[in-house]
Amino acid sequence: MQQQFFLERNHPTFQPGSFASVNRPLLPHTASAVSISHFINNGNSNGSANARDMYGFRKQSQYITASEYDKWFASYEKYMHRRRRKWEALIRDSGIEFGEDGVPLAFPRKSKLVKRYVRKGIPVDWRGAAWFWYAKGPEYLKKNPGLYERLWTRGMSSPPVDSELIERDLHRTFPDNIHFRNTDQPPVNSGSPATTPGSTKSSGSNSRRNSAAPETRIVQSLRRVLYAFSLYVPKTGYCQSLNFLAGLLLLFMEEEKAFWMLVIITQKYLPGVHEINLEGANIDQGVLMMCVRESLPIVWNKIGAGIDGYLRDDMVVRLPPITLCTAAWFMSGFIGVLPIETVVRVWDCFFYEDSKVFFRIALTIFKLSERQIESVRDPMETFQIVQTTPKQLLDASSVIQSCFRRHNGFGHISQEEIDNRRRFVADRRRHVGVMTSSDILADELDSQLPSSSLPGHTSGRQKRFAGIASSGFESRKAAEDRIQMLRMGSMNMLSLNARNDYFSPPSSSRSVSGASSPAV
């Protein structure tokens, strides 16, 4: 396996088909730290713009130069060796055997010690096995023998409804990773509009046309996994971002396991997050905003305001615009948000400790941006900070450290707490849903009434504020009354605190005090 791997990375005429089996993970299984270092150092020439990391990604990004990467990696590599030796001892002491590929056949039972080991990083070539183990993958696999193969076979012969979307994204998944797109082969007809023959569907994707280079083996696996998943979980089908989750999994484990991991992530760890209405994603963003307000008041003062400039207590229903950025963090498991080594370290903890890890990492990113966020005047700049800060967090170990540091302000966010809050937010959003839709109605009404004909004309939301304060205003049109009734009805479900907060100016400290935070 290792031999083949080198072939793939270094042989100029490598063809993806040279792998006999479609079911092997791409990362080599090696028995000792020595060969790991061999495989790492065997990457491309250091410092060049095309130099690759140990996973096949470009070392260099828009935010990190290749030499910065190398400088960091020189010490990180030593750290990895040290951790690996500790892990080997732990596995031996736990009485667990190693397979012939050098990967433990099982992983130690959960304990404080093991949690600490996981947080410090799982050895790179055991990673896939450990993720699968702690996510309880073996149970799913055992209960459903052969199912994956049946699913993808069915998918290939009669493509699922989402296949067009999937096809469009296959070549937009990690194009910078050598396993996904082999750049050693110059694109044959780049720039010419000829269509690649044999594409299952003529999708709108231009990348297909440009990708005269043969599809890599991992892209073919990715297709099967995504097809099978969309058949198996029709209420999610295909959601952009699943391609990245599956893609990263495929770098670490064989495709059947990657498939089950995708099922587990979307059902157990991040329920509803990728579903058609994205409600799970909205719920998690509501929970995250509650956590930010509680733990990071300075940040909350900048990001908590709605587009109307008011800090509001119904933030779990009307999410602040920053959640347009943060929702993607959860959906893609921080892929494309954090540098890749940081992502896999986060995933180590995530599969072991569950989704609270994502919330805490998100809070860590905010915490690390706090100073900068505090200093900007233009609220729009906050978006830029929140977007670019994580991309610079190359030092994975220190990110994990600041995440789990005691007294960082969010150590109390346990999984139980997250699950409770998820229920609370889900409930609240359900109850207030009627208000949200009546608001849209009100806005439609706004657009139908010429503002000049209404002397005191105010916006839908202002009307709602007014409604809370004075229990209504002059009736203008029957329709407007009806909307107002709807609105008042649903308003009763909001707490008094919420009412007060509607009128808090952005600089108010009241809305960040514990008193007005929703009881959980």
Partner: protein
């Protein structure tokens, strides 16, 4: 939107919010990348959620315009998030792919939604992208142009790949924006009044005085 006038000279600086909408893979992110960095990538990762970017252009010697750009994800299920982007947008670029007839239908539905739900003064531009793939064209220029003019949209055929018409598109939008209205957001924001909100929703007489 915010417009500030330097009192000592006659230079103007204005900030506008722009949102890109359109079906997945039509080239929204590529257009932004061309506009902001003058780059193109045959292999772009698909956008998850949204990306925020800014670009400042000089409209003429005395006018500088900063675009605050939301590049949104094209997949249908992200559509429910769209109001968050366009509600306070001053301008929108609705993109379709000239080689995909269905993408124009999607663009039309975006235009409809914007005209119903967004700021009534929103400037909407329709962009038929991938002009470099003229050989595979499925949407005739004349048809799209006719639709654009009857709907009151700016219209351009663009290529993020070659760069054709990309700057022209954004400049044309900038020229249509109401420079003489509103005042600096920075000054008013702490009071909780957001002048960046669409005219229709803002309190009466805040920024209806468009002089262009």
């Amino acid at each position: 939107m915010a417009v500030a006038r330097d009192s000592t000279s006659s230079t103007r600086f204005a900030q506008f919010k722009l949102v890109l909408l359109g079906e997945s893979a039509v080239g929204k992110s590529s257009l932004v990348l061309r506009f902001v960095k003058d780059q193109f990538d045959d292999y772009r990762e698909s956008t998850i959620g949204a990306a925020f970017l800014t670009q400042t252009i000089a409209l003429d010697e005395s006018t500088t315009i900063k675009f605050e750009i939301w590049d949104t994800a094209g997949q249908e299920r992200y559509k429910s998030l769209a109001p968050m982007y366009y509600r306070n947008a001053n301008c929108a670029v609705v993109v379709y792919d000239i080689t995909q007839a269905a993408s124009l239908d999607k663009a039309k539905s975006w235009v409809k939604e914007l005209q119903r739900q967004a700021n009534e003064n929103i400037i909407i531009a329709l962009a038929g992208n991938k002009l470099d793939l003229d050989g595979k064209r499925q949407v005739e220029t004349a048809a799209a142009e006719a639709y654009a003019s009857e709907s009151g949209l700016l219209f351009f055929e663009t290529s993020a790949k070659s760069g054709e018409n990309v700057t022209e598109l954004f400049t044309a939008i900038a020229k249509r924006l109401p420079l003489e209205t509103a005042s600096s957001r920075q000054r008013t924001a702490p009071k909780g009044v957001d002048l960046s909100r669409p005219n229709r929703r803002a309190p009466a007489a805040s920024n209806n005085g468009c002089t262009c």
